[in-house]
Amino acid sequence: MADMALDYGVEVARRTDAPNSAASELRCRGVWSVRTIAALERALAEVDWPAGELTVDGAGLSALDTSGAWLLHRTLAQRRAHGAVVRLQGFKPEFTALLQLLSARGIALQPPLAPAPSWLAQAGRQATSALRGFWHYLAFVGESTLALLGALRHPGRLRWRPILRNVQIAGVDALPITGLLSFLMGIVIAYQGADQLQRFGANIFVVDLVALAMLRELSPLLTAIIIAGRSGSAYTAQIGTMKVTEEIDALRTIGVGAQDLLVLPKVIALIIVLPLLTVYTDVMGVAGGMVMANLKLGVGYSAFIDRLDEAVQLSSYWTGLAKAPVFALIVALVGCHRGFQVGGSADSVGAQTTVSVVQSIFLVIVTDALFSIVFLWLDL
C-alpha cells in the first residue's frame, strides 16, 4: 500500500538566529494525515519542549487533512496552555484555513467521557428496569386477555386467515422436526432402559418406561421447547422488526390493534397447534421406543401394543396433554411481548430474540415442575 511511501516528520530546534535562546522552532514536514498521525503523535510526545516563543514552520508540509490538522491544533493549544507564545509561518493558505476552521469550532481537547455510574446506581437502575419489565409484562398479559375476551364475545371479529397461517407455519411445518426428535427420544429411552430391565428379566416393562416417560413428561416438554425455539423466536423477531420500521405505529394509526392482528392469532394458533403436536410426538416417541424394544429386547410389536393398553392409564395421557395449551400460552405471550420490547436498533432485535427463547424455555420447565407437584397432590 501507499502508506509505506508516505514521508512525514516533525522536529524541534532552538532558533540560532535568536541569541536570547528563549525562541524555538517546530518544523512540520511531509504528509500529516489520518495515516501518519499515529507516528507523529508518538514523535510529538517525545519532544522536550523548550519554554518561550515557539515558531511553527509549515513550509515543508505537503498534505494536511482534518486529522493531521487536529493533531497540530491540539499540540499547539497545549503549548499555549503552558504559556508558550505560538506563531505560524510558511503554511499554505488552505492549511491555515483548515487550522482556523478547527479552532473556530472550539472543539474540546479532551473528548467528553461519560462518567461511569457507581455500582449502587447501576444496581438501582437494573432493579428498577427489572421491575418495570415485570410491570410491562403484566400489562401485556392483561391487554392480551382483554383482547382475547373481546374476541370471544365477538367471534366474527377474529382474524381467521392469520390464525390459519400461523397454524400452518408453527404446526404443519414443524411436523418433520418434532416427529424426528421425539422418535429419537423414544429410541434413547428404550435403549438406556434396556440394559437395566434385561438384568431383572423384566423386558416387557420397557413399554411402561417409554410410554409413561414420553406421554407424561418428555413429549409435551420437548414439543414446547422446539416450538419456543422455532416459533417464539420468530414472533419476537417479526414484531421487533415491525417496531423498528414503525409498522406497529402505522397499524395503530390505521385503527388496527396490534394485539388483534399480531398477538391474538399467534396465541390462538399455538393453543390449537401445540396439543395436536403433542399427540403426534406422543405417537412418534412411543413408536421409537417400540422399534428399539424389538431390536434390543426382543419385545415384539404386538406384545408391545398389548402391554401399552395395561401400562398407560388414560390419566397419564391427559396429564401430559393438559400441559400443552399452557406451554403454548407461555411461548406465544413471551415471544410477542419480547417483540414489543424491542427498541430502535437492529441489535435490540437480536437481544430480545435471545431473551425470548431463554425466558420461554425457562418458564416452560418451571411450569412443568409446578404441574408435577399439582398432579402429585391430585394423585393423578
Binding site: 499515529a38 482534518t66 473528548p111 467528553p112 436498533s345
Partner: protein, 265 residues
C-alpha cells in the same frame, strides 16, 4: 459560482457509455458524465430515472450491464470488494436513510471506520471522531447518543461525520436533504458548501432539492429517458429548451426556487 478544475483530464469520476438493464426494463441507455476535482456535482432526474442506481454503480455496489466507470482513474466496473477497498478508503458515502449502525453511538459509528482502517491509539480515535462530529455541526453531546435518539437532520449530519471519518477526497451524498424540514435542509446546504470550500472535497450528490441545487451545485446533470438530457450550471439549465429539463425546472416548485435564487443574488 465558478466551477474549479476546468481541465477535462482531472476528472475524478468518468462515466462512459453506461447501460443498465433489469430484465426488459432499460434504466440507463448510454450515460456519459465527468465530475471534475473540487466541484460540487449534482445528479437530478424524476423518480425512477436511475439516479440512485447510477450512484450505486459508481461506488461499486452494483454493476452496470455495459460501459465503463472510472473513479480516480481506476475502473470500478467488475471490481471485487477486495480490490475496491483501496478506492473505497478514498471516498465517503452518505446514504439516503443515513444507514448509521443502530447498535453503536454516533461517536462509535465514526470511530469504527477509523479503527477498521487505521492503527490510531484509542484516545486519538475518539478525539478525531469528536472533530468530525463537530465539523458536521453537531453538538458535542450528540456523540454519546444512539441514532434512534436523534432527529432526522441530526442523523444525516451523523452519517456525514461517518462518511468524513477517513478524510475522503470524494464525497457521495444520496438525497442529503430528503425527509428534512426546510430549516434542517438549509443547514445541510450550508454544510455542503462549507465542506466543499473548507476541506476542498469533490462532492457528487443525488438530489431532488432545487434549493440545495441553487445554493451548492457547481454543475448539474439531468437524467431522463436513460441518458443525460441536460448538463451545466443551474442558470444554464434554467434556459434549456429540452422537455424533460424544462419540466423539472419550470414546474411550480421549480419556479419558486428559481425566483428565490434570483432574489438572493
Amino acid at each position: 459560482m465558478n466551477a474549479p478544475g476546468q481541465d477535462a483530464n482531472d476528472a475524478v469520476i468518468d462515466v462512459r457509455g453506461v447501460q443498465t438493464r433489469f430484465g426488459d426494463a432499460v434504466v440507463h441507455d448510454g450515460v456519459d458524465l465527468r465530475v471534475r476535482a473540487g466541484e460540487v456535482f449534482a445528479l437530478v432526474g424524476g423518480s425512477g430515472s436511475g439516479k440512485s442506481t447510477l450512484l450505486r454503480e459508481i461506488i461499486a455496489l452494483q454493476q452496470p450491464s455495459a460501459g465503463s466507470i472510472r473513479v480516480f482513474g481506476h475502473e470500478v466496473v467488475g471490481l471485487g470488494d477486495e480490490r475496491a477497498l483501496p478506492l473505497r478508503r478514498r471516498w465517503g458515502v452518505m446514504f439516503e436513510r443515513a444507514a448509521l449502525f443502530s447498535a453503536l453511538t454516533v461517536a462509535e459509528n465514526v470511530a469504527m471506520v477509523l479503527n477498521e482502517h487505521t492503527e490510531l491509539p484509542p484516545r486519538l480515535v475518539s478525539e478525531i471522531a469528536a472533530v468530525k462530529i463537530a465539523l458536521t455541526g453537531l453538538p458535542p453531546e450528540a456523540g454519546a447518543k444512539y441514532p434512534s435518539e436523534l432527529s432526522g437532520g441530526m442523523r444525516k449530519r451523523a452519517a456525514l461525520a461517518r462518511a468524513l471519518a477517513l478524510d475522503p477526497e470524494l464525497l457521495f451524498l444520496d438525497e442529503p436533504t430528503a425527509g428534512l424540514d426546510p430549516q434542517s435542509a438549509s443547514g445541510i446546504d450550508e454544510l455542503v458548501r462549507s465542506l466543499s470550500e473548507g476541506l476542498r472535497l469533490t462532492i457528487m450528490m443525488v438530489t431532488h432539492d432545487l434549493d440545495l441545487l441553487w445554493h451548492t451545485a457547481h454543475r448539474v446533470a439531468v437524467l431522463g429517458h436513460g441518458r443525460i438530457v441536460g448538463l451545466g450550471t443551474m442558470a444554464e439549465l434554467a434556459q434549456s429548451d429540452d422537455d424533460t429539463v424544462r419540466q423539472y425546472f419550470h414546474g411550480p416548485r421549480g419556479r419558486a426556487a428559481l425566483e428565490q435564487a434570483w432574489k438572493t443574488k
